[in-house]
Subunit: 90 residues, 2 copies
């Protein structure tokens, strides 16, 4: 799996990430990994569900893992942010 199979989900509308994932599958990828942090985690789940239900019915969620990242704060120190990785396979 190359880095091109990773889609980072941020603050854009879900459909732009859905398009990115769908394009990768249609270009021959067997696996696409969605990665998100913090509030974007909900959007990553939306993207996975929309891809499966509407665009790539043969795709399935192969694995979901969560984690915690320490990010620097602008006031100094660090803050903990949750992360998610959703592996979609077809």
């Amino acid at each position: 799996m190359t880095e091109e199979n990773v889609v980072y989900v941020g603050n854009k509308p879900p459909m732009s990430y859905v398009l990115a994932v769908t394009t990768q599958f249609n270009n021959g990828a067997n696996e696409v990994v969605l990665k998100a942090r913090g509030k974007a985690i909900s959007r990553a789940v939306d993207v996975a569900e929309i891809v499966r239900n509407r665009f790539i019915p043969e795709a399935l969620v192969d694995a979901i893992t969560t984690g915690t990242e320490e990010l620097p704060r602008k006031e100094g120190g660090t803050t903990n942010t949750s992360t998610i990785e959703i592996v979609l396979k077809k």
Copy 2:
């Protein structure tokens, strides 16, 4: 597993759900299921991470499943909302 082992994550501060989960484990539960919908999904992941990293180090994420629910809209019709279930075990 009884219904008491389910914690529904909504819009309260994450710590109130962390307390609910921690209390259930400390009362003898071997498994607690976090459930959330829509934007609360990110918070459910936060709760799972905080429980594991700070309160119940022996807890692990046993399974994460996502889904889609059709909810009625006030304007009529339905809207799709993503759901998550996080199973914590110790």
